[in-house]
Each structure stands twice: as C-alpha cells, then as structure tokens.
Symmetry: C2
Subunit: 435 residues, 2 copies
C-alpha cells in the first residue's frame, strides 16, 4: 500500500497539500524548488509503475521553480506544482489529447486554467495521461494503490498523480464521470464545479453542453483554493468550524448497480453522520430522472461526433476502434430531433432539480460502484455520475472509505447549482466525521 | 452602388447563391473552379476598397477547386466556396484572431464548422477579417456599399465579402450583435442559431455562455442549407410555399435608440405584412428585459477577461487600448457574485421568454439602429441584438430596406428556441412580401 490521500504530513514535501505549500513558501520556510524536487523524486521512484505522466521535463520545471523562488511574485498558489490533463493546451509543453493523431502537437498558448494557475504563482509540473480524447480508450496509467487495477478515467493521470503524492493538485475534465470516478479510485478529493463556472477555453471539447473542468487534490481546502484561483477571484478561506449540514441520503435508481459493500459503507456513513449530529434524510429522486442517463448519452454523442469531424474525415485510422464503434457511431446515428428532445429533457430536469433537496444542503451518494476494478482495459462504470453531471450541479467525492481489498472508495456529495462553497463546507464537516 | 444582396442572377458566377451553385455543379453545368475563379476575380477587383479578407491564397484554392471537380465527392454543399471569420481555426490557412499576438499562427486542425463545410463538398476560400478577438477594435474592412462607412463588426469581413458578392456564404460569430449588425449594414441575410446548436469547437472563445456561430448568405434557402450542413445532418428543403406567419411587432424599450427612418421602415413593413394577409400584433416585452443588456455586459466581460488570461499575462502590449480599457477592465472589475447574479437573471429571462410570443411565430424588430454609420473606427451600436442574444433564441436579419442614403437596413426576425426552421419559413414569406 502506497502513501495515499489523507495521510498526515510526514515531513516529505511531496506529501504537502497546496494550502500548506503556499503557507511555507510564503513564509520563506521552503522553496518552490525543494517542493518540485520532492515531487520529481517521488515521480522518478513511482512513475514506472503508475504511468501518470504523459509529458514531464524535470529540468524545465526546476528552472521555472527557481524563477518563482527568485522572483518577486506573490499569489494565492505561490510555489504550488500542479498537473494538467493532456486534453488541455499548454504553450510550453506538447499536448496530444491522448491520441496518436496529435503526436508532438505544440499549442501556441496556455488554456485559461493553466494561465490562471500560473498567474497565481503556481507551477505547471507536467501533463497527465488522458484517455483518448477524454473518452473511453485508456492510456498507460495504472492505479497507484494496485497496478493490476484501473485508475479510472478519463482523468486517469491527474487522479493517479495526486493520489500517489506526485503532485498536490491536478486538473481533469468531466463530461460524464471523468473526474469523480478516478478520484474515488485513487483515494483523492475530486470536484466537478457548477457547469459554466470555470472557463474551458483551451480544453479539447468533447461535449460542450456537458463538459466542465474537474479538480483533484488531497484536501477540501485545496479544492476550494484552486477553484477560486480558476475563477480568477481572490480566494476566501473556508469557515474554520463548518456548520453541521442537513444531508439527503440519495441512493437513486442505480442502487442495484452499486456493490453491496459500497452500499453498506454509505449506509453506515449515513448512520454515523446522524450520530454526529446531522439530520440525514432519505431522498428519492423522481422516476423521470431514470431517463437522464439516456438523454446524456444522446447529447454527448451527438456533440462529440460533430466536434471530431476533422479527425474523422482526415485521420480515421488514427481513432481507436472503441471510439469509432462507441461515441462516434452513437453520435452519427443520432438524429437532430433525438438530440433536441434529449437536450430539452435535460434542461427540464435541471430546472426541477433544486426541488429534490428540500431543506437539505447536500446529498450523499455513491461516487463509483466500488473499488477500482481489476484490469486496465476499462476505466470503470460511469453511471453513478450521469445524473449529477447532466443536471449541471456541483459535486465532490471525498476519500472516506476502504473496500474489501483495502482500496479507496469515495462518497459523493451533491449540492444545488451555485452552492459550491456550501458543498465545500459540508464536505469538510462530513470528512471530519468519517475519518 | 455596388452589386448587392437580392440582385437577380446576371450570369456572373460570383453572384450565384450557394443553392444555385450546388444545383449547377451537381448537374455538371458549371465547375467549382469556374465559380471560384469568378469569386477571385470579384475579389481582385474590389478587395483594395473593401478589405474583407485577412488571408487568401488564390493558387491554393484553385487547386482545391480542381480537386473537387476531378473528385467523385458529392455533398449538399458541393462546389460552394465559403469564407470563415479569422477567429476560427483552419488547418491549412493561418489564423490570427484579429490580433498581432497571433501573427502567423497556424492551427493544427480545422474548427468543426470548417470540417463540416468541407465534408459536405464546400471549399474554404479564405479567412475573413475579424475585429480584435471578435471584440470592438476594428480591422481593415470597409462597407462595400460606401467605403467611408463601417461594415459593422465583429464579423466585418464575412458580411462585407458576402454583401459584395465575393463569396456566397460566410461564417461569423455572435456574442452580442456581431453577425446581425454587419449583415444588416452589408445588405445580406444574417442568422444567429439557437444557442448550443452549432458546435463552436475551434472558435476562439469570447464568452462561452453567449457565443454562437453566425451564418451570412444572400438567401434564406442558403442559410437553411448551411445550417443543416453545420448540424451534421442531411439538409431538408424549406417548404416551397411558406405558411403565412403570425407576427409580433416588437419595438422593445430600445425604440428611442432606433433612427426615426428605421422606425418608419419597420412600421410601414408591419403594415405591408398586414395587407399581405399576416396577423401582426404589437408585442411589448416585460420591463425586466430592460435590465438584460446590463446582465449581458457582466456575463460577457467576466468570462472574456478570464478567457484571455494568457494573452493578458504574456502579451499585454499586444492588446489594443480599447480592449484593455473596455471588456477586460469591465471583466476584471466584475465580482463573482455580480457574475452569478447576472447569469441567474439571464437564465430566468430565458425560461420566461417563450411566453412573450403568445400565438406569434416570429417577432419583427430592428436589426440595427439604421444604415451603417460613417467612419470605420466604430462598428456601430450593438444594443438592438442584446436581448435576443442573451435569451439564446434564433434570429435572422433580412435585407429588405434602404435608408436615406440608399444603404441597406435589415429587419430582424426572432423565433422561440429550437424554432429555427419556423424562423426560416417565416423569413421566406416576409422577405417575399417586402421586396
């Protein structure tokens, strides 16, 4: 078992959270270079087994770390190394989108999320492995807790790198469950923001009406900090003593798909939270939400198949059979009428969704069916994320459980649209009770 | 006065509509090369005065036209040259986004809209002039009907090129009024689709929650054809005999901003449509819509200022003073709370907007305040588009009026979300009555 999320600071700099790094670098107690060297050492040791990185140039990043140490720059992310999913453009590192079609591709500029991270004093450590075009065909990454298992996808490298303490922060993306699932499998915090909040400029679009960034970190505080950096606003600390949230325990119609041990972990957690003083209610979403995964499939496929017209027309042989026969086939077979009907249905669900909460602050649900499955040819079942993704609400997975093999299993928290900070303070309280 | 929109076919191939070109090329009566040569001749003659093109390589496009003529390819846009606003990536032509920061920039791939146009048998003729980053700082283009006047913006070159019969189709974009206004000023049809319909992958994002493509053409049929090509579906002909629409005449609170002669043109048109057999009702939007332009400003500025973080941080000197002191200053001064409040307000307006129509099929409104203003330092008043853009509905400007200087003035038609084809058939009927 490797060092994982939630581990107490042991003095090794690669295990620090971003919040800790900012404090120590700002106080002059540690240099950005020292942090980066610790991350690079961890990577040198572990990368042959984990394979989280698609591009990494140690000399380049050490030089940039020295620039930060020697500069006068201050900022809310000062000295913090971050990893970026290789579906996102970077001006000084190649960006290949997980596809041989883009081998050696060098974008002209940084995506907004990278530029905002750098503006805040952070340091782009390298590009993390993505599945092919953030779809299903996996990259080389293995689960850092068990290399025979998938890290999840499509933000495979971002979750594995953070979970393995190679880097404190990483960005992924999510069109279905591409941040929450790998974060759950790799024992990290993972966050999908309210749809539309964090700019996706410079991210290779899969399905624009569903895509968001996804943030991966080893604490709630880090997620909150990184989010506000990426909103381009001055970060505000979370409350030191979070209010006890009212929680809706929400099994959803997918409950039979969830592993029995995960069901029990969640049910026990609901009970523990009640004992800790929270009101925990059973919430049953209306039956129409059972159709939302189908709507998601048609929306995402229709848009994906059009977005990749250039690749389909000019580089068909460079596209995996799985993508050709999956998302692209689905998308090209979907009529415009079906697409609009699905989109209208999703919009109606979005409008109605706030009512499900009643007086609850957050919902508690499964992040994934269970532990990361054995095998690296599949990235696992995406269904547990489909409802929340499609209704555009913010969600977070918190690493609070262990499965029967001692591997991480997350709990997913769901908030209303625009309630991202309430999600964070609820997550803080819940995490403290369950760990 | 130059040859303008609506002119009857005179035998000059550059004056053909896309629909006519497809018919003639498919029947073997004309070659794509001949059409392209006619367009290039028109451009050679007129470009020194109009300045519609940012990049044009005649030899390259003639070679591609020959490939189409010699190939076995068929498609709904076979043989049709199109122009693309230089805010949109092309794999074989540089893309500079109207900014010196991107001088010589060559993207790796085609934007979705280019790839779909090429897949359908169309031919990318060249890149048309955009204002700086599709914002206000103008490019070199002049109004083809009077070179002392603006062509409008930000899709300046696309509208001027189509209005001057240099090319039958062009793509622009619209975040406020960047397609409708230049189309009105240049005497063309201009169309902004239902938000979200046409993929913007490969378009440099200004404000993702408002940006759409905009299509510019010289007939309603061409707009309808091009839209379905860009949806990636099989184009369906419009009804040969359009149904008489029920029309809502909608002055809006901006009526005092509209030139008195434009007011009279619209009022006379409403009367003429009544006489032609349409029911024309007066529609007064609820007063809360008066606040929507303000919401638009904060949403677009907040998003724009973040989207351009890389340029702001690394190329501040390459950004015009107008953009720095306008959109960027506004965006950086906008709090997140103000942004979310504005976004929530815009969403509420979207949900309620359909009710305004009552039993009307379309609304009739001003496309612009009047003729293109004298001077090329400003692209004109964007306000007449702000409501419709923000509520995500499809709109079309049709070239039906002449102002006091004999210059084009459009009428804007507005439909409910997803009623794009009803918008087209209504536009067909209305255009026939008014010309």
């Amino acid at each position: 078992m490797n060092i994982g999320a939630g581990k107490k600071l042991s003095g090794r700099l690669n295990e620090l959270t971003a919040t800790e790094i900012v404090r120590l670098v700002s106080a002059g107690e540690v240099t950005c270079e020292a942090v980066v060297r610790a991350c690079l050492e961890r990577i040198a040791q572990r990368e042959p087994e984990v394979g989280a990185w698609h591009y990494l140039n140690p000399e380049q990043v050490i030089a940039k770390a020295r620039d930060i140490d020697n500069g006068s720059k201050r900022g809310p992310l000062i000295g913090v190394p971050f990893g970026i999913k290789d579906i996102i453009d970077s001006c000084d590192m190649p960006t290949e989108y997980g596809s041989p079609i883009y081998r050696g591709h060098q974008p002209k500029n940084d995506a907004t999320c990278i530029a905002l991270g750098r503006k805040a004093g952070g340091l782009l450590l390298g590009k993390t492995v993505t599945t092919e075009f953030a779809n299903q065909y996996p990259g080389k990454t293995r689960n850092p807790f068990d290399p025979t298992r998938t890290p999840g996808g499509s933000s495979s490298g971002s979750a594995a790198a953070v979970g393995d303490c190679m880097v404190p922060l990483a960005i992924g993306t999510q069109t279905t469950g591409s941040t929450i699932r790998p974060a759950s499998f790799c024992g990290t915090f993972g966050y999908r923001p309210t749809y539309g909040d964090l700019r996706c400029t410079g991210v290779k679009e899969a399905s624009g009406s569903l895509d968001t960034l996804g943030l991966i970190a080893r604490s709630v505080e880090d997620i909150a900090l990184y989010r506000e950096v990426l909103l381009g606003i001055e970060p505000q600390p979370l409350p030191a003593v979070p209010r006890i949230p009212t929680i809706g325990f929400c099994r959803t119609h997918l409950w039979p798909v969830i592993e029995p041990y995960t069901q029990k972990l969640l049910e026990d957690a609901a009970q523990a939270l009640r004992k800790a003083g929270a009101v925990v209610k059973e919430i049953t979403p209306p039956p129409e939400l059972e159709r939302i995964e189908d709507a998601h499939r048609w929306i995402s496929s229709f848009e994906f198949a059009r977005n990749f017209t250039w690749e389909i027309e000019n580089h068909w042989e460079g596209i995996s059979g799985r993508l050709r026969g999956g998302r692209i086939k689905d998308g090209l077979s979907c009529t415009y009428e079906k697409y609009v009907e699905s989109r209208n249905f999703a919009e109606k669900c979005r409008m109605d969704f706030g009512q499900i909460f009643g007086d609850c602050d957050v919902l508690l649900a499964a992040s994934a069916t269970g532990e990361a499955p054995v095998g690296t040819n599949s990235t696992g079942n995406v269904s547990p994320s489909a409802i929340w993704t499609t209704v555009h609400v913010p969600v977070m997975t918190i690493p609070v459980f262990k499965g029967p093999h001692g591997l991480p299993v997350g709990a997913q928290l769901v908030a209303r649209r625009n309630d991202d900070r309430k999600l964070f303070s609820s997550a803080q309280w819940i995490y403290r009770q369950l760990t």
